[in-house]
């Protein structure tokens, strides 16, 4: 079970070596290139996950099975969010929102999924409003459910932290149903996310 869940094949830190070291790098460079965007720091790993087939509800109030949503016959990106989240989720969702535009023609085959980790507060109606706020297209699904089911899904992705206020900024990508997942831990530019997507698809 443990092997299934966290089969970490490859772990590297994109953009800037070791995390703590990155800070010095950032500030060291800063004074010379004032208007250059600050470098991003996110970690990349590849892993197998076995999410449970729980019954969830989407932003339109329709009952859906998680396996049916994740079984999308094409590339898929997944994030955990909640609608009242202060700093982390607006940025995560903005990255998805911007990636919608940057994916270009590929958008037609990509499915985006955002699962609420505050399901008791995030009713379908609230998720629907949130989806509009981030200009979500029809390929972007927002899911909620019971506390227990959503916790089980988070645990399956090694993303459960107990208190929702401590959730890590994770983005998961997979090329096709049953394929290994790429796990991105941190914030990235939309361009980097799209580059990760192409890297995955070209393999």
């Amino acid at each position: 079970m443990l092997g299934m869940r966290a089969l970490v094949v490859n772990l590297c830190v994109a953009a800037f070596g070791v995390m703590g070291f990155g800070v010095m790098g950032v500030y060291g460079q800063a004074s010379h290139h004032e208007h250059e965007p600050a470098p991003e720091r996110y970690a990349r790993a590849v892993a197998a996950y076995a999410p449970p087939d729980v019954a969830l509800v989407d932003q339109h109030g329709a009952a859906v099975s998680l396996h049916a949503v994740l079984g999308h016959d094409g590339p898929l990106m997944l994030q955990f969010i909640f609608t009242t989240c202060p700093a982390v989720c607006p940025v995560l969702s903005s990255i998805f929102s911007a990636a919608q535009e940057q994916l270009g023609p590929d958008l037609a085959r990509v499915r985006l999924v955002s699962i609420s980790i505050d399901p008791e507060h995030d009713t379908p109606a609230r998720l629907h409003a949130y989806a509009r706020q981030f200009k979500a297209g029809p390929q972007w699904h927002f899911l909620t459910g019971t506390r227990a089911d959503v916790a089980a899904v988070q645990k399956a992705f090694d993303a459960y932290r107990g208190n929702k206020m401590r959730h890590p900024p994770l983005t998961f990508l997979r090329a096709a149903p049953g394929a290994l997942w790429v796990r991105l831990d941190g914030f990235m530019s939309a361009q980097s996310l799209v580059a990760e997507y192409h890297r995955l698809m070209d393999r």
């Binding site: 995390m19 800070v23 500030y27 720091r41 989240c85 982390v88 607006p90 008791e120 900024p169």
Partner: protein
């Protein structure tokens, strides 16, 4: 914003009006271009903290357009998605999550050179979750000169601080005109610029509100917990203050943070219309930092409104009638009370009823708030589901005429469903009047309105009775309940009203815990924000199955069960539904 704060903001603006000259010049250019000379405003009005507040909190420019910015290098965001308050919060104190450390941007934080404070450092190192990068940064103290208006504007626009460091890419780079930037900076200068009322160098003042009509037993049960907790808290504080800071051999990082708690009793007497004046009088006599716990027999609205007007946090009062909408900024409730129960019942009826063959539903209530509020919520929510065959009956009959009232209700072709938003007195009469549930398919009651009435009194109706039950089921023991019971035993507090006493303990311990995070930054907004973050952290003593808040969330428990009477089940109740979140 209070008048006091506004005056203060304006006063602080005067010295730097010269600096705003560029902004004014730009404004004048715009004005001359619009040909509308009537709109030219005097120079003093060039920056307006009120307009800045809207930019900060809602991401909306004075023109009505959304603020635009870029995060993470290339991600375009607008004010509705991300604004200053999303991350730095209403208080300006920022937040610490595992993924992101958002530094404070209050007026003192920005306009003073950054110095490390040991109390803050302790918190950052040992009490908060931090991303690894922040952990490294906390250990590597960085100094920064005080911002000036121009270096602050540069940081907001380009993400470069006065030392030349580039801010995290998560900090949006805002595209703001000089004029709008002026408004925003004017507002930033008001953030925590004046100390919160109710706090002195040695004392934190709190008050507990009890309204007219509250059962004396409930009131005393609550006060027993409050008094014991505060006494213990102050004993601990005194002990801490005697040791450290005054000895060369012992260093304490929190000498600045210790305060003695003083709890005032604010009893409200007479009709609810007179409560606002009573509250104002209490507040004038002794301003308090926050209201703790409290009990209301009827509406909580006057107290809610007082807290909004004076920006006083009101932390977890016991009330069935909270202000459900619009949500306030300062009152945190356990649940939405009777509105929640009615909406959960509507959902349950909608799911269980046969749409093809609708059973008539009759709701009976008295013309008071405990009756009108749930009746209105049930009607509204059923209508949302498309269920309209609901009849209302106002109960005006005196007790001896009740049997006739019930008999009339039974004159239906099909046995109706009864929903009774009635209290214990009426229900006891009803139970005596009805020898058997014949004539009614189901009878739905609110467990909250029973007010501790013995369930055995409903014995005649047992099979037909269902109750809305927005609490943890009797056998759902939550480990913390044992700790709270042990604490009460050790303080020699009789457990007479366990739910009220447990919830009071929750209000106290959650506030206590949050105040530790504040260190000596006694900001009321910050207190509310920490509670939003920390309510979920295992403080729940078990009256509700789960307590959780988040930014802007005001009701910690979100659902309700529907239960049936059962002699065999522990506590005499059996769940008839899942936890329903309407």
């Amino acid at each position: 914003m209070t008048a006091e704060k506004q005056t203060h903001a304006r006063r602080r603006l005067l010295p730097w009006i010269g600096l705003a000259a560029v902004g004014i010049a730009a404004a004048l250019l715009v004005i001359s271009a619009t040909k509308d000379s009537a709109s030219a405003r005097p120079a003093q009005a060039a920056t307006d903290a009120e307009l800045g507040q809207r930019i900060y909190r809602e991401g909306i420019l004075p023109s009505g357009e959304l603020v635009r910015a870029t995060v993470q290098g290339d991600v375009a965001v607008e004010g509705s998605q991300l604004n200053c308050a999303s991350c730095h919060r209403r208080s300006g104190f920022g937040a610490s999550e595992e993924a992101a450390y958002v530094p404070p941007i209050t007026a003192p934080a920005l306009y003073q050179a950054r110095q490390e404070q040991r109390g803050d450092l302790f918190r950052q190192l040992f009490q908060e979750v931090q991303p690894n990068t922040t952990r490294a940064r906390v250990r590597d103290p960085r100094v920064r000169p005080a911002y000036t208006d121009s270096t602050l504007a540069a940081a907001i626009r380009t993400g470069t601080d006065p030392t030349g460091r580039v801010l995290d890419p998560m900090m949006p780079r805002y595209a703001l005109s000089d004029e709008d930037m002026g408004h925003l900076i004017a507002y930033l200068k008001t953030l925590w610029a004046t100390p919160s009322p109710g706090v002195t160098d040695s004392t934190l003042h709190f008050a507990t509100v009890v309204t007219e009509g509250v059962d004396p037993g409930e009131r005393e049960a609550m006060h027993a917990v409050l008094d014991a907790y505060v006494k213990r808290k102050n004993t601990d504080t005194r002990r801490l203050m005697q040791r450290p800071g005054f000895s060369p051999l012992y260093k304490d990082d929190f000498t600045e943070a210790y305060r003695t708690w003083v709890l005032h009793r604010w009893d409200l007497n007479g009709p609810a219309q007179t409560w606002p004046d009573q509250l104002d009088a209490y507040y004038r006599k002794q301003p308090v930092f926050a209201l703790l716990s409290g009990i209301g027999a009827g509406t909580w609205k006057p107290i809610h409104d007082f807290c909004e007007q004076n920006e006083v946090p009101c932390l977890f009062p016991h009330t069935d009638l909270p202000v459900v909408s619009p949500p306030g900024a300062y009152t945190l409730y356990f649940s939405r009370g009777l509105t929640l129960e009615a909406e959960a019942l509507a959902r349950y009826l909608y799911i269980t009823l046969d749409e093809a063959d609708p059973t008539p539903i009759i709701q009976v209530y008295r013309d008071d708030e405990q009756g009108r509020v749930p009746a209105q919520a049930l009607r509204q929510r059923l209508a949302d589901y498309g269920v309209t065959h609901l009849e209302d009956r106002l109960l005006e009959a005196s007790a001896h005429r009740m049997p006739a009232f019930w008999d009339r209700l039974r004159q239906h072709e099909k046995p109706p469903i009864l929903v009774l938003w009635l209290g214990a007195d009426d229900l006891e009469t009803l139970a005596a009047a009805l020898t058997a549930p014949d004539g009614f398919r189901h009878v739905y009651l609110s467990h909250t309105l029973l007010r501790g009435m013995a369930l055995s009194k409903l014995h005649n109706l047992a099979d037909a009775v269902y109750l809305t039950y927005p609490f943890a089921l009797p056998w759902q023991e939550i480990p913390r309940a044992y700790r709270v019971r042990a604490w009460m035993r050790s303080r020699r507090i009789e457990r007479t009203h366990e739910p009220i006493q447990f919830n009071t303990y929750f209000a106290l311990s959650a506030t206590d815990h949050a105040l530790v995070h504040l260190v000596d930054h006694f900001s009321r907004d910050y207190l509310v924000e920490i509670l939003e973050h920390e309510t979920e952290n295992a403080l729940n003593p078990g009256v509700f199955p789960h307590l959780s808040l988040g930014p802007g969330q005001r009701f910690a428990s979100k659902g309700s069960y529907i239960v049936q009477l059962s002699e065999a089940a522990p506590g005499g109740l059996e769940a008839a539904s899942d936890w329903i979140i309407p």
